[in-house]
């Protein structure tokens, strides 16, 4: 018999001895082990579920509160401030200059937030450094013209009822990727109830598959 065969034989014999000897004594230890396992699983699971999102995202307050509902009421629709430029690109968040159609460096209302806007930005001629909730990663090309003009979609389909908000919620940034939380969505499991709950690639692809019959080639949405 070779050395290796000897070793395996001894090894396996040792193993069977231990098992046979251990079984009757370990009943109570096994019960405790199961309880310990369940407890440890619950602690890990709950901390992962409840604490992880808190750890993952850092919160930033906007420079000042913005009342979308009031502005929509005054101007009538989204397009008054967020419009397509003549070259087909999207204007995004308006510059301070376009606010001057109505605003001056004297506040029109009585809110503290408007006073900040008038004093810090209009009077000093500066742009407001807004955090953009819907900002996509750098590698993404998104054409508003394709979706608004060609596909006839409404703003609410992707952006949700932001026009009804009366204050600005904090911007949450993923500490690992630097992306806005709105990309993955509020639900850490990625479960969505509304079309606007998340804005990640799978959401784009699912809608494209449904509406156009094809997810599109990489370069359709990447740059």
């Amino acid at each position: 018999m070779s050395e290796i065969e000897n070793k395996t034989e001894h090894g396996s014999m040792d193993g069977t001895k231990e098992c046979a000897a251990g079984d009757p004594k370990n009943d109570t230890a096994l019960g405790l082990g199961v309880i310990f396992f369940i407890l440890a699983f619950l602690i890990c699971f709950l901390s992962g579920w409840l604490l992880f999102p808190k750890l993952l995202y850092s919160k930033h307050e906007q420079p000042f509160d913005f009342d979308h509902a009031l502005h929509v009421q005054e101007t009538g629709d989204c397009e008054s401030c967020h419009y397509l430029r003549e070259d087909g690109t999207f204007s995004g968040i308006p510059e301070t200059e376009s606010c001057l159609d109505c605003h001056t460096d004297e506040p029109m209302g009585t809110t503290e937030d408007e006073a900040i806007f008038a004093a810090e930005y209009v009077a000093k001629g500066r742009e407001v450094p807004w955090y953009v909730y819907a900002k996509q990663p750098d590698c993404v090309f998104f054409s508003h013209a394709a979706h608004i003009t060609a596909a006839g979609m409404d703003c609410i389909t992707c952006h949700g009822p932001i026009g009804e908000s009366i204050s600005s919620r904090p911007y949450e940034e993923n500490r690992l990727t630097g992306y806005s939380r709105d990309i993955w969505g509020r639900n850490i499991w990625g479960i969505k109830k509304n079309t606007w709950d998340s804005m990640k690639m799978d959401d784009c692809a699912a809608c494209h598959q449904e509406e156009t019959g094809h997810k599109g080639y990489c370069f359709q949405c990447h740059k």
């Binding site: 070259d87 087909g88 750098d138 094809h214 990489c218």
Partner: protein, 285 residues
């Protein structure tokens, strides 16, 4: 596959008799596409040049010496039979590169690439480059980067995209104007617009009104000598690089000089004489 009867097939024809080798195409390409550069660019194994100008010679001694310059972007191969199985696309394990059947352009998605470099090994044209370092620009120059092209990080492969972002912008304009048509001058690559000699012509090979279609006259039938080769030019001055491989590049080259045309492929003794007068399929001149 998107079933689109109006699919484009963007291509390029480069007139090697007009090219002076000035390098404007390379410079404009690097500026347009946020390509980083190093202080010492003499090590060509390390440098990133989506558009690279090669110097070629007829190998004869004075007074018969002739030199030409050959700019080489990504060839945007259609693969055998033009079915979209480009050499790089078929080997990519991450699907970081795909063939756009709507444009004929081979993509490269930097965020998806994990840098295995199979595509670089597969590409017969050395058109793909690996980022050995994170990009660094001289201080202040990062403010001049184009927002339409995402910069790449260390560890991914990049290549010429036929300035796809310009196509995206042209499409946005078309959507705004509520038309499907993209005019020839609405989408031109940076190298095309920068070439002072006008040696580069870019357009849609599927559109007979485009200049490139009129110059190249792509053969609608496969080459009878090799059925993997399609879109062969019916212009006797026009050739492609390594055409007989069946990679079906969408970059064509043009020259009056026979020795340059012969340099487009490797020929055994006597082979060139057999193929040199075969332009497209004989039955459809």
């Amino acid at each position: 596959m998107i079933q689109d009867k109006k699919a484009h097939m963007f291509g390029m024809v480069i007139d090697l008799d007009k090219c002076t080798g000035c390098g404007s195409c390379t410079v404009s390409c690097m500026a347009e596409n946020n390509i980083p550069f190093k202080e010492d660019e003499s090590n060509k194994k390390d440098s990133l040049t989506w558009m690279r100008v090669y110097k070629v010679s007829n190998g004869k001694s004075f007074p018969d010496t002739q030199t030409a310059y050959l700019p080489r972007p990504c060839q945007h191969c259609g693969g055998k039979g033009d079915h979209g199985h480009s050499p790089c696309v078929t080997v990519c394990p991450a699907t970081a590169t795909d063939y756009g059947y709507d444009t004929g352009i081979v993509s490269q998605i930097y965020t998806r690439c994990f840098g295995c470099r199979y595509c670089m090994a597969a590409c017969p044209y050395h058109a793909r480059y690996f980022n050995w370092w994170d990009p660094v620009w001289p201080e202040g120059m990062e403010k001049y980067l184009s927002p339409n092209v995402s910069p790449r990080m260390r560890g991914v492969v990049e290549k010429c995209s036929f300035c796809y972002h310009r196509y995206q912008l042209a499409r946005e304009q078309a959507y705004y104007n509520e038309t499907d048509e993209i005019a020839e001058d609405a989408y031109q690559t940076a190298c095309t617009t920068a070439c002072p000699a006008g040696a580069i012509i870019f357009g849609d090979l599927n559109n007979p009104s485009h200049k490139i279609h009129q110059i190249v006259k792509p053969d609608p039938h496969p080459d009878p000598l090799n059925h993997d080769v399609v879109r062969k030019s019916r212009n006797p001055k026009v050739f492609r690089l390594l055409e007989r491989l069946g990679t079906n590049p969408k970059v064509y080259y043009m020259s009056e000089r026979e020795w340059i045309r012969k340099l487009g492929d490797s020929y055994l003794n006597g082979e060139w004489e057999k193929v040199k007068n075969h332009y497209g399929s004989a039955s459809h001149d």
